[in-house]
């Protein structure tokens, strides 16, 4: 198929529909409004359903209902709205249902601002809701990757019977880039949803969608089962891009659009004879720990760059077991890191070569 020029948020909608998503429940919030707008326009054309819910709480609970009923379903929002969805997300995880949630992050805390940010890293990877649960979290850095990951997210959600989160920031939601919609093929062997509630038709016993286990022993068994699933996701799905790692004296760790700015800094430093690598986590959970196992011999330290006050840095310290110094450079509130500032920080780490 030919490439088309699309806005990030619309590409998300198009990718979802391409992957067979026919139900969308959402609530307006900047900077992701083009996702529900696109879905309200396009879903009816393919026999799908768009509902503007009364709140993000209601929207995610509609997702819970539709998913339990057997549908491919998505919701999207931005930071404060994702905070509201946490109640529904933990129920969906607890009841082991598939769905795709998109967070086009903006600055916080509180009402914060409407400009791009990455300050929901902890919320995404640590579970914002109650209980021991995990989401598979994809973090695309460009629109083609966004499209591919949204499509894959539906399959992964169905395969693991788990909610999948796709995070971007306001920049990726608003930017335009050419994207190609490859014919949709699932990379997983997907089972029929025999557990879905579609009426017994008198042919089977009732299907029950539930996350309540009043018997502590049964709830613990359920948690053990969930952990086994998370272990499989950790083994199979952790993913990272490595860039310019040979002879790197410093390795930058950055995800999403921040990684693109980091690449600019890496290229300009190269001209000055300073080799800097990049590890770009493509999944935030599971975190790509393995990418940190063998760092270049020349590597003197790591620099984590985020559009936050420092959240992913904790995972980098865990992944490197603090073998090397891990430094941080971040901007927040919608301020975007400048390549020069990143380059300066690296020179400072290397002992003030200017």
């Amino acid at each position: 198929m030919a490439k088309v020029l699309m806005k990030g948020n619309e590409a998300i909608g198009a990718a979802a529909i391409n992957a067979g998503c026919r139900y969308f429940f959402g609530y307006p919030i900047t900077p992701q409004n083009e996702v529900p707008e696109y879905m309200s326009r396009e879903l009816p054309k393919v026999g799908g359903v768009f509902v503007q819910a009364e709140s993000e709480v209601a929207a995610i609970n509609m997702v819970y209902g539709a998913s339990g009923a057997g549908a491919r379903v998505m919701t999207s929002s931005s930071s404060p709205g994702i905070a509201l969805k946490q109640e529904g997300i933990t129920y969906i995880a607890g009841a082991e249902l598939p769905c795709v949630i998109v967070n086009i992050m903006r600055g916080g805390p509180g009402l914060g601002g409407i400009q791009p940010a990455q300050s929901d890293y902890n919320q995404s990877t640590r579970g914002g809701g109650n209980g021991d649960y995990k989401l598979l979290v994809y973090a695309p850095a460009n629109l083609q990757e966004m499209v591919d990951m949204v499509q894959e997210a539906f399959d992964a959600a169905d395969y693991y019977r788990n909610p999948v989160l796709v995070v971007g920031d306001g920049m990726i939601g608003q930017m335009m880039e050419p994207v190609e919609f490859k014919p949709y093929v699932s990379k997983y062997e997907l089972a029929e949803k025999t557990w879905a509630t579609d009426g017994t038709k008198g042919k089977r016993g009732p299907n029950i969608i539930n996350s309540l286990f009043l018997d502590p022993a049964k709830l613990e068994d359920h948690n053990v089962k969930l952990q086994a699933k998370y272990k499989a996701i950790k083994e199979n799905e952790a993913r990272a891009e490595l860039y310019n790692m040979d002879n790197a004296q410093v390795v930058i760790v950055a995800y999403g659009t921040t990684s693109r700015i980091a690449k600019n800094a890496i290229e300009s430093l190269k001209k000055e004879g300073i080799e800097v690598g990049l590890i770009r986590p493509q999944t935030l959970w599971p975190f790509p720990d393995r990418a940190f196992e063998t760092l270049p011999e020349a590597c003197k330290g790591l620099l984590v760059v985020e559009m936050s006050m420092g959240q992913m840095i904790d995972d980098v310290k865990l992944a490197t077991s603090c073998r090397l110094p891990v430094e941080f450079y971040g901007r927040s509130g919608g301020m975007i890191p400048e390549p020069d500032a990143i380059a300066d920080k690296i020179k400072e780490m290397l002992g003030g070569v200017k």
Partner: protein
């Protein structure tokens, strides 16, 4: 010998956890009988709440969802939009529907979702041990209104049926009680009509059922029925508040 009564196929054989004399059990039977009599049991999908009826998914013999506190109408919306031909219903208490879930119930009605809500008003939070509900009567004692509900600081009890009847999308709204055999029969009739309203695609339907909580009211089941008659019915008048326009 002729069979004069038998348990509806709409309920499972699981023993319920409801307290002796609690009218949740009667309401379960009426809902199950209505689904069976309308021939839609095997096509129905129920959504149970957080509250004493949280475990209702084990008691109804049809597909069921367990919803978070107050969100059953949103969950039912998701189910109904995926399966528009199936009969989708919620079963909710007064804390669930009239406190934490007011936004969800009002907007499900507002959208005219073709679902049916069975709203069990027992004027108390049963499950959590007898705290004040939005429907607790003025002067009624509960564990969080130990001196009796004070209208000055807690407001007056919410009249849900009257409120729902102001919403254009609510096609059928009726308040019933299960305190006497005659009222039980009327309650059954209203539940049947509510489901019919959904089946005929007329809009949102809700039946508010006045119910007892002997355990947290601190009364015997018989005294509870008398208390409901003397206190609840005068404030929460029984009757129909909205019927779908008859097709001419």
């Amino acid at each position: 010998m002729a069979v004069v009564f038998q348990k509806t196929r709409g309920l499972t054989d699981v023993q319920t956890h409801y307290c002796p004399g609690c009218t949740h059990g009667i309401i379960h039977r009426l809902v199950a009988e209505a689904l069976e009599e309308l021939g839609v049991l095997d096509d129905s999908i129920g959504v149970c709440p957080v509250g004493c009826s949280a475990l209702a998914y084990d008691y109804f013999n049809c597909d069921m969802h367990q919803a978070s506190h107050g969100r059953a109408p949103a969950v039912a919306t998701g189910v109904k939009r995926v399966h528009p031909k199936n009969v989708v219903w919620t079963y909710q208490g007064d804390g669930d529907l009239a406190s934490i879930g007011t936004a969800e119930i009002i907007h499900a009605a507002h959208r005219g979702e073709k679902i049916t809500t069975i709203f069990v008003n027992n004027a108390i939070y049963g499950m959590t041990g007898g705290q004040m509900a939005p429907t607790t009567l003025v002067g009624q004692k509960s564990t969080t209104s130990p001196y009796g509900r004070d209208a000055e600081t807690c407001g007056f009890p919410l009249k849900v049926a009257e409120m729902m009847a102001t919403i254009p999308g609510a096609a059928f709204v009726e308040r019933v009680s299960v305190d006497t055999p005659a009222n039980v029969r009327k309650a059954k009739k209203a539940i049947l009509e509510a489901f019919k309203c959904q089946i005929e695609g007329k809009g949102f339907s809700i039946v508010e059922v006045l119910s007892t909580c002997p355990t947290n009211w601190g009364m015997t089941p018989v005294d509870s029925l008398a208390w409901l008659q003397a206190n609840m019915i005068p404030y929460y008048p029984l009757g129909n508040f909205r019927k779908p326009e008859e097709a001419k």
